[in-house]
Amino acid sequence: MTSFNLLNGATTAYFIAFWLLVAYAGLRRETLGRMGIVFTWVGLIVHAMGIGLRWYESYQLPGDVGHAPFANFYESVVFFGWAIVLAFLLLDLKLRRRVIGVFALPLALACMGYAQLSGRDAIEPLMPALRSRWLTYHVISCFLAYGAFTMSFCVSVMYLLKERSRNLAPQTAWWHGFIGLFPGRDTLDDVNYRAVAIGFPIWTVGIVTGAAWANYAWGRYWSWDPKETWSLIVWFIYAAFLHARLSRGWSGRATAWLAIGGFVATLFCYLGVNLLLPGLHSYGS
């Protein structure tokens, strides 16, 4: 059993879970929803074992290349997927609205699919600049925040769908039933805020640990490198979100769109910067 097999297993579990939840959304059978959640949990645990095994495997390789599995693009996207599923399941424990999985799991599946298609799953030795324990703290906090922001995105999309279908008069019974599974608009709005409020301090930790690491590695805690700048942009957007909502009373549609904007910036911070802009952070592609 290798970590690669385990991660494939997790992907399969998410895949099954996703279709179970879609079936649940269509047929509204409780059992299907429950099974979907069970498969998601199984996937999460197998996924965690896969990441842990990869960590262990790296120490078994010759040449002292052992390191926490957050070093290259493959490893980071696998961890992103895990963070999304973790955030979704924690939300599910709180709300018990399985239908959110129909929105969250495709994002996790996209991560796992992207990882597998990238074909860069070999464990690579770390270049000297990455050999720092700050790397581990930095990556873990950034990706946990990504998970929370992803939930805020999912519930924002659901909010907008629900809102829109309220205003659109003729609907098929199926659509009506599907929307009926969503939490109420107030709950969606509240969860949106909560997810951002949970993610924001973690994201702050991510930026701070990144600055600390940069200070050790390059002698500057901030050099306006594109990745750093984008992480700040994301931070600004969510800070604006929180102030708009808490102190100026924005809610509903406005904050949903703001959260979607924040998530787009988050995705760009993660993917766009590496793929499109030059800088220190491009994972040596």
Partner: protein
């Protein structure tokens, strides 16, 4: 302009400066312009912008200093406005919040109590005195400290939890100001530079990154050794390591001899930090075959940084070299001064087929070998703002955690004599997580009612 106008203008300015609208606006502007800064390549020369983007864009870039946008007058101004806004808002709000925490309303009116998000009231056919102790104990189980006040026979009990959570927002704001201050201190009082030190050599000066200025370090840094370590069976570098020694007045400083400096493990000394950041090889000894015109050839060693005298008094130095000349091995450029003071130049090729100067030259040279030595490249920085920045970062993390993960919860219990019994009003509020506080409040309410009914039986 009369005085009234001026003061109303100032008042307007102040309320604009502390407004949240301005914060949202600056936040969106900061985010937007940062996006621009990541898309537009930074720090190119004006000529390069001209070539890539044309004259109009170049004009705009020069005017708005977009070639170094994050240090342009308007971006720094935006950050300054942001800081002012933050400070103004904090100065305006903090006193009120501080008062609420330290001097809560201990004897609120009935109406105010009823308007709290959580409220319940009931009547017990028992005197106030008989119940007060029991109720206080029940509250104390959840809130360690219960305060009491009384007015005209009515008793109020008050308790709160995590009042400091209210300060989280202000700690966060203060943290941002401290970080910005740290950045200013760093850019005013610090510098960034780069040195290369050949193995065995000592440097005492530093070339600054911006401009061509050299500064004295005030001490010496010697590189004793530089090494690249590779992963086993691989050509991937694992570690770059310099052994550095600090010299004061030419003497080694005890404890700072052959200190290993690696990537992610810098060396600090007297406010300067040395970061391993580059390396290379440097030729330090050239070996030549020298043939005087009409004489017998002999071999000569020339160190890279010294003049060497030939038997006839000609002095000779290496001016420069190329490690490889068109695939035909290295070549060195020589400068010499003949005994009568006339300067001259010569080339020395490694490849014997390549020409060796004019026939009437006093000497011809051939390059036999070059001894090379590692040099290490060190990023050197002095940044007196760093402690402030770390303090700010710590406060930033603690502040945001306090603001969002904790909640300031208050409860009031009013006991009002009502005929032969007592009327109880219980109210509560939390500044966050109202829903879960509601559940806790309901439980507490039940406990209070129970404790009084036990008293009754």
């Amino acid at each position: 302009m009369n005085f009234g106008n001026l003061s109303s203008l100032l008042a307007n300015l102040w309320s604009g400066l502390r407004s949240l609208k301005l914060s949202l606006l600056t936040l969106f502007f900061l985010a937007g312009s940062s996006v621009l800064g990541t898309i537009l390549p930074q720090k190119l020369s004006i000529a390069e912008y001209h070539q890539r983007l044309g004259p109009v864009a170049t004009h705009l870039i020069r005017f708005l200093q977009l070639d170094d946008m994050y240090h342009s007058w308007w971006f720094v101004g935006l950050l300054g406005l942001f800081a002012l806004n933050l400070a103004a808002c904090t100065v305006h709000r903090l006193p009120g919040v501080w008062r609420q925490i330290t001097r809560p309303n201990l004897t609120p009116s009935d109406r105010w109590l009823q308007n709290r998000p959580q409220f319940c009231e009931w009547r017990v056919a028992k005197s106030l005195e008989a119940m007060e102790h029991r109720l206080t104990e029940t509250l104390r189980r959840r809130f360690s400290h219960v305060r009491r006040d009384t007015k005209e026979g009515t008793v109020w009990l008050f308790a709160q939890k995590q009042p400091w959570a209210r300060l989280g927002a202000y700690v966060t704001h203060l943290a941002i100001l401290i970080i910005l201050l740290g950045g200013v201190v760093g850019s005013k009082g610090g510098f960034q530079g780069y040195v290369t030190i050949v193995e065995g050599h000592t440097v005492e000066r530093l070339r600054l990154n911006d401009g061509q200025k050299d500064v004295s370090l005030g001490f010496g840094v010697r590189c004793d050794r530089f090494a690249v370590e590779y992963y086993a069976d691989s050509d991937r570098p694992k570690e770059f390591r310099s052994l550095l020694t600090i010299l004061e007045d030419g003497r080694e400083v005890p404890g700072l001899v052959k200190v290993p400096v690696r990537v992610n493990h810098p060396l600090r000394y007297r406010g300067l930090t040395f970061y391993q950041s580059g390396y290379g090889v440097d030729a330090h000894l050239f070996r030549f075959r020298v043939k005087p015109r009409g004489g017998d050839p002999f071999e000569l060693e020339v160190p890279s940084d010294r003049m060497v005298s030939l038997p006839d008094g000609t002095s000779l130095a290496v001016a420069g070299y190329l490690p490889d000349f068109e695939g035909r091995g290295p070549v060195a450029g020589l400068q010499f001064v003949s005994p009568d003071g006339r300067p001259g130049r010569a080339m020395a090729f490694y490849d014997p087929d390549l020409g060796a100067g004019r026939a009437d030259a006093p000497y011809t040279f051939r390059l036999l070998s070059i001894d090379q030595r590692w040099y290490t490249g060190l990023q050197v920085s002095r940044d007196p703002g760093v402690p402030l920045v770390w303090l700010g970062c710590l406060l930033l993390v603690l502040g945001t955690l306090a603001a969002f993960y904790f909640s300031h919860q208050c409860v009031w219990l009013q006991l009002k004599p009502d005929g032969s019994g007592t009327c109880l009003r219980f109210a509560g509020q939390a500044h966050r997580h109202g829903e879960s506080f509601g559940k806790r409040f309901a439980n507490l309410c039940r406990d209070l009612q129970q404790s009084v009914s036990e008293e009754l039986s």
